[in-house]
Amino acid sequence: MKKKSLNLMVAALAVAMTAGIFTGCSSKKEEVKATTAPAATEAALTGSITAAGSTALQPLAELGAKSFLDKNPGATVNVQGGGSGTGLKLVLEGSVEIGNSDIYAKDKAGIDAAALKDHKVCVIGIAAVTNPKAKVESLTKAQLIDIFTGKIKNWKEVGGADIAITIINRPASSGTRATFKEFGLDKKEEAAGLTQDSSGAVKQAVKQTDGAISYLALSYFADAANKEGLNILKLDGVEATAENISTDKYKIWAYEHMYTKGEPTEITKAFLDYMVSPEMNAGIKKLGYIPMADMKAKRD
């Protein structure tokens, strides 16, 4: 009796495993079919594509994917995070159709930028933020650089409270950090500081640590409620707003890129067109990004 039940169990396990293998394979097949099969007509796009990479761009890509699906039932865009590096790597390998990135592919070591086609979908500003106890509203660029390179060690040196400065960085490989370093710090080497894995963690650490200074993408405080506990610095007296960024008065900003391998086709092309279409503008602004159409200034 006991043996029988054991046999049954083994059989059940074997069945489950085989079934697992088959479903595993079939789902893959489906994906391949969806991406290679030509769409029947222009009007009815069907199938699914995947966009992966930058977590800074992820909320916007998700919003775009959702309204794109509403317009084109049957055309699914899966959005995944993973980081800019991952996005570029995956699109280059061909495992995803779109690679989201905060930085230019040519600036990332180990990426064959020539094989990728750049689609700029929006602009994101990055602001220096401090804990409110620092009591500083505005910094000049020189002061900002001195703080991040460790020359200025106390907030009173720049007219604030008598609190030691704690620098909170993103990891060296982060796209936000690369942008901030290039346009905020003129590529000067930062002094050693704390490192937080994600923008969310940076936000919490700045709120908790008295003399903290760090930097966040504007999309992280698009809502007024999200600004609580954070003091957003002006740079040379210029506030980090969409207007100041669009005229390049505020300098720390970057394009958000969606890279494709070669020219995009069908769904991918339709989705990329949709992302920069006027329909998306309201959503882009609401999430704290700046639509490409609003940008008066240009940068290569």
Binding site: A172, S173, E189, A192, L194, Q196, Q204, A205
Partner: protein, 303 residues
């Protein structure tokens, strides 16, 4: 006759070989999996030294971590001493905190009050094991870090916070293995000790703990190796600065925290990414050493 023969073969197949075949298959898959992971890690990990020509001595003994280059040194530097030291210090301090507590709990559960032990402590400790490490980290960031800031000064993110979080995490490992070791002590030892007029405390100190020594040590080594491999919880509270810790309230990084922070954003095949693989290989080697130590301890316990 022939039909009967077929039937027995079929029966035998069903009763004997089906299960055995499945077990062998699973065993082979596991062995294959382990070896392919080791092979992959080794090839990737060694490419820092072979393809990129970085010296092993520099990798292990230099604290100069500058993967982008620029600044003082124009070429990228991959010295991981800070992280190796960070991991080691966190793990050993955590064990220093939780080993005495774990052993004391094990003694309490088995010798002093088995009733409370099995009814309350055992389930409580088992519950600890089920809490995911990200939750420990989260509690660490929102409760422990502010408390350290208020009580001890500094900024809260510190080596101390990492040590405390990890010591809670490895406590169940040490406790349950020590408890198992104490359970297997022959009753004769304890009775003999009582018979000679020893008090309970004397019995615990002189007989029970020495007799369970190898089991307790195994628990401690397992605790150290878990502490070494833990990534998320430590990363959230230790500050992750690329500096040697300045005392208990200073911040530093561990091998695993650098791995989790940089792996997604570096490109496969670059020197930076390969340096991360080398750190992963280093972790594998360290855990291999711990396993060897446990084996040695286990053998000694048998005699």
């Amino acid at each position: 006759m022939k039909k009967n023969n077929m039937k027995t073969i079929f029966l035998k197949l069903r009763n004997e070989y089906l299960g055995r075949g499945y077990a062998i298959f699973c065993g082979a898959v596991i062995v294959l999996l382990t070896f392919s992971i080791i092979f992959f890690l080794t090839t990737k990990g060694l490419s820092t030294f072979i393809n990129h020509g970085y010296s092993i001595a520099h990798f292990i003994f230099s604290g100069d971590w500058n993967p982008e280059g620029g600044g003082k040194s124009p070429s990228p530097q991959f010295g991981t001493l800070i992280f190796i030291l960070g991991s080691t210090v966190v793990s050993f301090l955590a064990v220093l905190v939780s080993a005495p507590i774990g052993v004391a709990l094990a003694v309490f559960m088995n010798v002093i009050s088995p009733k409370i032990g099995t009814k309350v402590l055992q389930p409580a400790i088992e519950l600890f094991v089920g809490i995911p490490s990200v939750v420990y980290g989260w509690i660490g960031v929102s409760v422990l870090v502010p408390i350290i800031k208020i009580w001890f000064g500094g900024i809260g993110f510190s080596l101390l916070a990492g040590v405390l979080v990890i010591s809670v995490m490895i406590l169940p490992t040490i406790t349950s293995i020590s408890s198992d070791a104490i359970k297997t002590i022959p009753k004769d030892y304890i009775e003999a000790s009582y018979g000679l007029g020893a008090t309970r405390w004397q019995t615990i100190i002189r007989v029970i703990i020495p007799a369970a020594k190898s089991g307790i040590l195994t628990g401690i080594v397992l605790g150290v190796s878990r502490a070494f491999g833990e990534a998320l919880a430590v990363q959230m509270v230790i500050g992750n600065s690329v500096t040697f810790p300045k005392g208990l309230l200073g911040t530093t990084s561990t091998l695993t925290s650098i791995l989790t922070m940089d792996m997604a954003n570096t490109i496969y095949g670059t020197a930076w990414n390969d340096a991360l693989w080398s750190m992963a290989l280093l972790l594998l080697i360290i855990s291999f050493i711990f396993i060897l130590i446990i084996r040695k301890l286990g053998k000694r316990g048998e005699i």
